[in-house]
Symmetry: none
Subunit: 121 residues, 4 copies
Amino acid sequence: MIIKINEYSDVPIYLQIRNQIVMGISSGELSAGEQLPTVRALSMEIGINTMTVSKAYQILKSEGYIMTDRKNGARVRTEINQTKSLSNVNKEELKRIVSEAKISGLSKGEFDKIINEMWGK
Amino acid sequence: MIIKINEYSDVPIYLQIRNQIVMGISSGELSAGEQLPTVRALSMEIGINTMTVSKAYQILKSEGYIMTDRKNGARVRTEINQTKSLSNVNKEELKRIVSEAKISGLSKGEFDKIINEMWGK
Amino acid sequence: MIIKINEYSDVPIYLQIRNQIVMGISSGELSAGEQLPTVRALSMEIGINTMTVSKAYQILKSEGYIMTDRKNGARVRTEINQTKSLSNVNKEELKRIVSEAKISGLSKGEFDKIINEMWGK
Amino acid sequence: MIIKINEYSDVPIYLQIRNQIVMGISSGELSAGEQLPTVRALSMEIGINTMTVSKAYQILKSEGYIMTDRKNGARVRTEINQTKSLSNVNKEELKRIVSEAKISGLSKGEFDKIINEMWGK
DNA sequence: GTGGTCTAGACCACG
DNA sequence: GTGGTCTAGACCACG
């Protein structure tokens, strides 16, 4: 899996890494138990500091998405906690996005189409 | 319209103000042409720096949501630009939220229900 | 409140800081809403790096014990989430400590006395 | 006695082994003089490096919980030193756990109940 | 070889 | 002035 950092983004680098790995797990590009690149390898590959990658991994770990051990590096967890819900932060963000979509004149049908594409068949 | 600041949130105050006004316009709580409180009034009401409110208004203005003039203060624009699309930033955010919803085990039906409620009948 | 770092301890510095602040909140030495020293002030006071203090504060924040904002620095939260339970990690630790206490020949009465003293009247 | 390694845990494997053996001795599952599996056998059984098991045994030996000789391998000591006290490290940990229990809103009665269950009749 | 911790120092956004 | 992010570089425990 290729991580791409947008250096002009307002999203901090460690969060960009975190988000892309989460999206990789969700899409199936990263499968359960799959090995992630080592902190050092990933930091060299995308040209950033090891601390920054390490921070991303620690967040993913604390969120239960991956596990780390000193022998095997980091791996996608096989049993990710199924909360079956959106976090409050995500709910707020979603509400904001829906609001902006409505103001922009996007129809509900067009918005649903975007969601459908993102969700995948 | 009442603006509520969440001091625990990681979202900067000026963005919280901006977001709530956008959501107010979207929901119809703030109607086209409606007068917004002055920077001074709003900053006193919510107990924060005038600079912070001013920054929120400037962003809303640059985004085309409101207009300001010396005589009338700030008002909701009557014709907001209908891009009929999501910004790239919103698309990325939405993709992230959809990914997290899927991993959490939320079904597409449940997610659609949340969207429907947020969109309003 | 005075934070004391034991440089010979196996407990990482950021955790020592985190733990002492949690104990300060629990004992009432730090009251709800009380201002914590700034990251810079605390790091200078105990002679460690700002990153290390910052990490402690971020953990406390993510655990819901404190809140941070750029204006006021860090403060003890007024409403800390009442889970009314021990975390699994704490349960495991407690089980280990109880086991070691028993092997050492400590009586249940003596152990209870230690707990009573720690809990406070 | 079965040793179970939690690969998600932050507790190092050698400590998990050490802790489970101590808890086994405390509960009586491992009785005084009882033979422990050889380093080789245990490492194969739980699928880890012999060095890791060896490290656990060395710690248990230095703590006085087990003794090793070339003929009989490792055995639980018959007379474990009765300090009748908690180590300073355990006291600190216990204080931390009590603090977190109190903040979480757990009552003293509920906490005592947990302790009673862990201690056994 | 791996992740985890820590430093000294810098720059930035927010308020 | 505050916390948040990031770097370059170091050392350590674990396995």
